[in-house]
């Protein structure tokens, strides 16, 4: 079987694994029950940024053959865990349905969406991906095929909750049953508003988010002085009727190979952010956008992560409670003043979190910054950022992580032990392993 060097979207810490394409649930059972010493892990499309979908020296299961999508008349979708979100969106469209949660890229699998309990621009309204799952088919390392969901009870319910956000470490998800969202149209009516300060951006979102299904702010994390954190807030909801917003169409521009030196540096980042801010309208109401324009703008630029060069990119995404919203400004100052240029910085309000112990979202604010791996002193800059996040009672997102320490993780996720209990029960021999689980001693 082919040995492949795998990395996450950030391309920071590659390792090699034996990638095995599975064609059926039986194949998954066989792979798990005949696992070698270095274990087994499911991988989706590798859109997590760090080491979550790697298993050095072990087996990595490619579930892309498990991609069937069945849309039921009741608006419930039954799909293979390897199904790609973009295809699910296409399959739902003729039924007047849309995915209940979509991350910033449509190139993720349902398995990956469950394992990271992904969130979208509607988290403040609709919660995260796991909140819309009706049932999962999960294979545990003993080869047992389990069907678990939010209406399970006892150990099964605990297992379901540990699997949502569980980063593939509590079983291989083979099927996802999901409640889709009825929408009047795929297109989104978007209000855009350019605001000159972080305070204004946060104030706008706090006071008006409730009126919109979707809301997010792009912010300028490089602007000098008090302009730091100025931004463009986009808020919207599905239009009553409009053009089809299909995802389709292959990437227009792709970077086929890694440029030897990162194109992303302090100067290009500053120029880009300045231009992006200026090009936004001061205010524009009810603009009709397609799904791709609104939800997945980056999918139009293939392999843009390669522009960061051989040192790759590190995304830092944190969530902090509302009461500590001031830490957002401190983080932005810290990044700017320590010379860490964020190309793309996104701010959003989260609604309440759910009952899944490792699920990332929690009520408050989330900030994501994309930093070049080559930034001098980046390790220490981000260690300090983690301290600020921890002092604020916040956490960082495992789907983006390749750097946090086991101790920090424990402090960020107070329900870690509850999750570990389930892991101990379903995988006492640690058959399910990833580079992330090794790094974090999970």
């Amino acid at each position: 079987m082919p040995d492949t060097v795998l990395s996450g979207w950030g391309r920071t810490a590659p390792s090699r694994a034996d990638v095995v394409a599975v064609r059926s649930t039986d194949d998954v059972v066989a792979a798990l029950t005949s696992a070698g010493q270095r274990g087994v892990l499911a991988r989706g499309l590798g859109r997590s940024y760090g080491d979550a979908a790697q298993n050095a020296g072990g087996t990595v299961l490619d579930l892309s053959s498990l991609g069937t999508i069945d849309v039921g008349s009741d608006g419930v979708v039954r799909a293979g865990a390897g199904a790609v979100l973009a295809d699910v969106i296409d399959a739902l469209e003729p039924h007047g349905l849309f995915v209940p949660v979509s991350p910033g890229t449509s190139r993720v699998t349902l398995g990956g969406a469950v394992a990271a309990d992904v969130h979208g621009k509607n988290h403040h309204r609709d919660g995260s991906f796991g909140d819309h799952v009706v049932e999962l088919e999960v294979i545990t390392p003993d080869g047992a095929v389990q069907r678990i969901g939010p209406s399970s009870s006892g150990e099964d319910l605990a297992h379901f909750r540990a699997t949502v956000g569980g980063m593939g470490l509590t079983g291989v998800v083979t099927e996802v049953v999901l409640r889709a969202m009825p929408v009047p149209s795929q297109a989104v009516l978007v209000d855009t508003c350019q605001l000159g300060s972080l305070d204004a951006v946060m104030e706008r979102m706090s006071s008006t988010d409730d009126g919109y299904r979707y809301s997010v702010a792009w912010i300028d994390a490089t602007a000098p002085g008090a302009a730091l954190g100025r931004g463009v807030v986009t808020q919207g909801d599905h239009a009553p009727a409009g053009p089809s917003g299909g995802v389709a169409a292959p990437p227009r521009i792709a970077l086929p190979i890694a440029p030897p030196v990162g194109l992303v540096n302090r100067w290009t980042v500053r120029a880009f952010n300045e231009a992006w801010f200026r090009k936004a309208p001061a205010s524009r109401d009810a603009e009709l956008q397609t799904v791709r324009q609104f939800f997945h703008p980056l999918d139009g630029v293939g392999a843009w992560n390669r522009a960061y060069g051989p040192r790759g990119l590190v995304q830092h995404q944190c969530a902090v409670p509302d009461s500590e919203s001031a830490v957002i400004a401190r983080l932005l100052e810290h990044f700017r003043d320590s010379g860490a240029p964020s190309f793309l910085s996104v701010l959003k309000r989260f609604g309440p979190g759910n009952d899944c112990p490792l699920s990332f979202p929690r009520a408050g604010w989330t900030l994501a910054v994309d930093l070049p791996g080559a930034t001098p002193g980046l390790a220490r800059i981000l260690d300090r950022a983690d301290e600020l996040v921890l002092e604020a009672g916040g956490r960082t997102y495992l789907a983006k992580d390749a750097r946090v320490s086991p101790e920090a993780l424990r402090a960020m996720y107070p329900r870690l032990d509850e999750w570990l209990e389930v892991r101990e029960r379903v995988d006492p021999r640690r058959v399910l392993v990833s580079d992330l689980s090794r790094r974090l001693s999970l």
Binding site: T12, V314, A379, R403
Partner: protein, 252 residues
């Protein structure tokens, strides 16, 4: 595991008392490190290395018995180290400088130096590469020397051993490509350590910390070959190409 910034959690130092090895650990810092195995001949130098790291706040520091010259013990040693847990970074820093005049007077002494600097080091490096290949991640750092780049009248025995281990290191760079693991060859110039303390300082001399920094940055940057100081690269490039009569007149 090595994190997104190139920081390891576990390090095996072959030549555990080495000042250059200790400097590299200092530059990594204790933040991510949780297992450090200092392998060497039992004695004061190893003990004080363990103590100095522990007092600097490093945790999980242990000493392990290893004689680099004793090749038959290597397989079991390396296997035991890796069986106890993944190793992210292996620093191959054992070495002896010796004395050129003594080597010429007593060829057995020259062979003994080669047994440490080349034969034993190669044996360890090959065993480590085998385990890194299985592990499918991690880095072996082979510290050779600019002395190996062009043999000099004044220390060609040492130079020849360093040339040999340098070739092994560059060979492992190729062996490990595509395995998920990798190798880094480091060529220091004159470094102010106890190995050289009895010698007059050569031009471009550096402190061990600078070599430690070169190792750490080389790992983080995914480098295959680095010099310390970096200026040594062009200097050696010139020296390597000097005609013999000219090189001879330099009197080095």
């Amino acid at each position: 595991m090595i994190d997104a910034h190139g920081r390891p959690q576990s390090v095996l130092v072959l030549g555990g008392g080495s000042e250059i090895g200790l400097a590299a650990l200092r530059v990594f810092g204790p933040t991510t490190l949780r297992r450090i195995v200092l392998a060497g001949r039992p004695g004061a130098s190893l003990d004080s290395a363990v103590q100095s790291l522990t007092s600097q706040g490093f945790s999980g520091v242990v000493a392990a018995d290893l004689d680099v010259a004793d090749v038959p013990t290597h397989e079991a040693f390396v296997d035991a180290a890796f069986d106890a847990g993944d190793i992210d970074v292996v620093l191959l820093v054992a070495g002896v400088l010796g004395d050129q005049a003594e080597f010429e007077a007593d060829p057995d002494a020259a062979v003994a130096a080669a047994q440490v600097n080349y034969v034993g080091s190669m044996s360890l490096a090959l065993h480590v590469a085998r385990r890194l290949t299985q592990q499918a991640h991690g880095v072996i750092v082979v510290v050779s020397s600019v002395a190996g780049e062009r043999a000099r009248r004044s220390n060609f025995v040492y130079g020849s051993t360093k040339a040999a281990i340098d070739s092994v290191g560059l060979g492992l760079v190729e062996v490990l490509r595509g395995t998920g693991a990798r190798a880094l060859v480091v060529r220091p110039g004159f470094v102010r350590t106890r190995m050289t303390s009895h010698l007059p300082e050569a031009p471009l001399a550096v402190d061990p910390d600078e070599v430690g920094r070169a190792i750490v940055d080389g790992i983080a940057g995914g480098k295959e070959l680095v010099y310390a100081p970096p200026l040594m690269r062009p200097v050696m490039s010139v020296l390597r190409h000097l005609p013999r009569p000219v090189f001879r007149r330099l009197g080095i």
